[in-house]
Symmetry: D2
Subunit: 367 residues, 4 copies
């Protein structure tokens, strides 16, 4: 697969300084893995395909450290979706284990598969891990994929867990993002990162999105109303698809020192990053965000009853908020830029955004 | 299996008027089904057993009407647990489909199984149900069950969905409640109901719990500190099990006219019902509650853009709140009363509460 | 006072159809009143001035119907601020009485004054209104106003309550907005409205903001990075004012049929409207939003125990969400457009945005 | 005023070990002050009295350290009430300044008065405290007090702030608790404390309540249904007072090391303490709880951008949860035990619980 240019390389003028990879893996320790399932063509037969789906796995501290918790906070801008594990994240501000993102009707199986992987992990200790509460999230690929066939299997989840790596992250039609639609262009997986300074120390935040939301007319790229100019090949708004909008899952990881309650603040800013791309967060969308910090260990069952947590003094936190908004925005545009035209079930085709057309509109608006 | 006496039949003085069955099925339309898995003895081998687990299924409007939504609100008193589907419940105040309760490491598979069952349902319409967000909840049976063997299969979930019936509800060691421990006695499934009057109309609320929480010392039955007297055979507080507490999932359904925000209020009262049995809601417990009303239809995708909802004027709502607290409390005591002594993995035994001993303590305190 | 042109009249290209006044008063029944306090010049003496502050009052159903509730939901995007009354709004999804917006250190007095006004209201009935829980909100005008002098009095609040009128709404340096700063330009009160269609019925949403937030560099007007071009006279970022950001209170009222939980959804969209103007919602900002619907009566203490509520079927709600984002965005830009340069305590001057300069930048970006 | 015996001294069998004073002031640094207003008799004339109200002030770190923040979390079990300051507590998990508790129609004035007091504080620095967000809470004393006369003045608030002291805390008809009614007995201010051990360190939690809630029939004391036996002189349930229930404000302070999110957990347990006294948390009640920890400083505007926070490892936190439930329960019973019969506006009389009658019922139930 040839890789399409990323949004920034096309000349779209983003703000801020990215990490070296402009990816969630710019945060030390983060590993990302994918299982991509593309199989069959033609008429939909539930259980037979065509299949256009997959699983994305993120290990916040890497595979080996799957049992070492991260601090976390979450926000649901519009809750027409699923992200498991949030009761404990709301309660304790922390969790452990890999995060899965897949299609809506495989989110339970992905949860099941994460547990299988953890139980088989060399560091699994049944005495210490009496129970586990995995994070599994989803967006809906029914337009291209035989979603009711539930084609993701345990083996697919285990493979994505095992294949996770640091380094560059594939974007577009990969993993859970395989069959996604974003602003009625082909969407999917996107990532970006920002470096920012709190006081005189520099940190990184990386964002990965599974972008599957938005109506064409609303698409805004760096303030330019792109969706009003690039009106061809929109998939909704037809008799058969009057008002389907999909969802976005956003995962942010930073190495900055943050408490759980501060991570809830970060998660809320991811919603503003989505807003920058034009969507008013529609009813049918599960716009759900999870923010984590790897800076502090999560002390859970230690012999000691107390532990220390380093946090950012709130008066200094604004650069992180801005970085979060920017990285989320860019990750979405990266998903659009990377995704390639795909034909799926019943011959449904979703077209990629044309880079030249996009840049022509940008130019028209002085960008 | 001989059925043990229910708490009320033992002479425990509960308040309020129950429905005819004193069960969640006193609310018209509600159907409950179970798959109970008991297999093997002796030393634990992950994947081989012993197995002491199952699945409980609740259809709020019955199997046939699985796609007809109910209004709902939820509350997490202590979120060390899982209940999927809550993002949309928080957002829309409604959901559809059966509710599953199982063990912690099968909650994803139960989610998956519910979808399988819905996709195969005669009324499933892929054009209308583009995506579904099932409710699957859990408590942890690791003390008796090979939880890491993940013994619940799709077939088990489908069977529980299909077996659901109106009428009397089995209690104790059945379904998801099979391997549960409550106040260090054998716990499991319990149910109760109350009739209450709003204005001059009478309604019913039914509660079903999967009771798996509490330390012996804290057990209080109708205000009597039973746990301080019945100290034999407690399972925690030992070197191997210093402070394990489990969880409680509470499901309430009423036919009273309630809005979504009012159902959140009802869910909070379920926490007070748990509190009446003595627990301070401990750290390791997932004390998560879901309250539903079947009174109003949920208008979702109709051709019409508006619908009417009947609600209770808040100034009249107190009898419902009291009924909720009482039914939750009684459902927990019913779980204790019904459950029978069980030996599970590695020879772990959890003893049932002895009815005579219980009533002797009650008598000592003037009850 | 000459009235400056509104943003739309300057030629800024907003989307959507406004109501006749493009104001919160486009919703039938809404009345708005102001008390504006401008007094003194020169060096600050706490308690003596200079004074640059006031009170804004909104009667959602008009003065006469002050005891008739409205359905409501709220959202705090960043809670560095105050809006009283939210416990009951969260619980019941409704409240009654006027809404006050003033400066941070007068928010308690405004609460007190509302009660005085309600107790003296001809329709006040001490038997029926055993207690009242007013909504009083604030943003901070300390840069221009002797905020610690707490210059707002009961008489000022009563006057604003009494002066409220339907019809055109003053913007800029009026009422609670008198001393406000927005993106380091002079800010203050702004309003806008949108008409939108749910199914085949048309409704109106009106928004009023007290805009006192944002750093110059972040200001975006319809996607154009205006703040990077108009860099003169910024007030923060200096040694004395390193990172002060203020707040925004947003009040939305609609005549569309909505439940309480739907109004929470509307309130969240107001945050997206703020985001469209560029701010990442900074730490020092109290970005708090209240959304109301006047469509249904709120039945509170009636002899009857049940009432009916008309709601919008969620599948049809998107036009309202978009209208909310748009009206919030335009209300903020209207506040900027209307506010005039002001000099306050210690000679601090905050400059109005220059309309010609603004439109020159807009033109440069193809608008 | 003769002081009535406290609940524990009557022989009511509470669990746990109290601090030396069994009061909120057992936590080092805490100071409590009261202004009690009792004036006039006979027929109600709004603005003239009779007056039965007051203000209670709590300085979590003492008067001198009013600008030093505490970590905090809150919970609203039933939000028919007011506690200001919660937006920032939800956002930052911290606040500074004294806490006021007064009557419902004086809560704004108390907010105003706290600011006056802070602005006049020797340590007030207008450059550092650009704005302040006080915590002011209330319960409703309309049955005894001319609440619509709004008799609390700034001077009363300042006096309560200044009069605050460490050491023993007055209970019953004092401060904001002066005119309160609890389970239809005379209620008011109550306090209690518990010592508890996390790991091998011992800490203290102190609770102060303003108890003004509950229907007689529901009153439970240590599990004994006292309210069903002591039925004389109940004030509600009559034609004029069919279903009025009041509220409870609960304030907890501990010296244990806790993060903000952990303090939210503590606040939720205060609701369980209320539940132990029998109430199902009725519709008319504002049952609102604030929990604070003084263990860690709150680093807000320091030159440094990072700070450290010591927290309790969750696996060790249960003794705190139990202590919170117990101290809240005992503080309520202490309010009942301490309050004396009072006659207020229009000759309304609320009777104190009779200690001998209470203990006779306790004995009947084996206590």
């Amino acid at each position: 697969m040839t890789v399409r240019q990323r949004a920034r390389d096309l000349g779209i003028p983003f703000d801020g300084e990215t990490g070296p990879l402009n990816a969630i893996t710019d945060v030390a320790g983060v590993e990302v893995g994918f299982t991509t399932l593309i199989d069959g063509d033609g008429a939909l037969q539930i259980g037979k395909g065509p299949v256009r789906t997959g699983v994305t796995i993120i290990h916040p501290r890497g595979k080996d450290r799957a049992f070492d918790g991260v601090w976390a906070g979450r926000f649901s801008l519009n809750g027409n979706g699923e992200m498991t594990g949030v009761h404990w994240i709301d309660e304790a501000g922390a969790f452990s284990g890999p995060i899965a993102i897949t299609n809506t009707h495989s989110v339970g199986l992905a949860h099941h598969g994460i547990l299988r992987w953890m139980i088989a992990h060399p560091r699994f200790n049944a005495e210490a891990q009496l129970w586990m509460l995995p994070v599994s999230a989803e967006t809906c690929d029914e337009y291209l994929n035989d979603i009711n066939g539930q084609h993701v299997t345990e083996a697919h989840v285990l493979a994505a867990c095992d294949s996770a790596r640091p380094g560059p992250v594939a974007e577009g039609n990969v993993g859970g993002g395989t069959g996604m639609v974003c602003y009625e262009f082909k969407g999917g997986t996107g990532t970006a990162s920002r470096r920012f300074t709190l006081g005189d120390e520099t940190f990184t935040i990386g964002v990965l999105v599974q972008a599957n939301f938005g109506k064409r007319h609303d698409l805004s790229v760096r303030g330019v109303p792109v969706g009003r100019h690039l009106t061809d090949n929109a998939v909704w708004g037809t008799a058969q698809n009057p008002d389907v909008q999909g969802s976005i899952i956003g995962i942010a990881i930073t190495d900055a020192p943050l408490s759980a309650i501060q991570l809830q603040r970060v998660a809320r800013r991811m919603g503003l990053g989505v807003g920058r791309t034009g969507s008013p967060s529609e009813d049918g969308s599960g716009d759900i965000f999870l923010a984590m910090s790897t800076h502090n260990d999560v002390c859970e069952k230690a012999g000691t009853s107390e532990a220390m947590l380093r946090y950012t003094v709130n008066a200094h936190i604004n650069p992180l908020f801005l970085a979060t908004v920017e990285a989320t925005e860019e990750a979405i545009i990266n998903a659009l830029a990377a995704a390639e035209t795909m034909t799926g079930q019943n011959g449904h085709t979703v077209h990629a955004i044309n880079h030249d057309d996009l840049m022509a509109v940008m130019k028209q608006y002085g960008r």
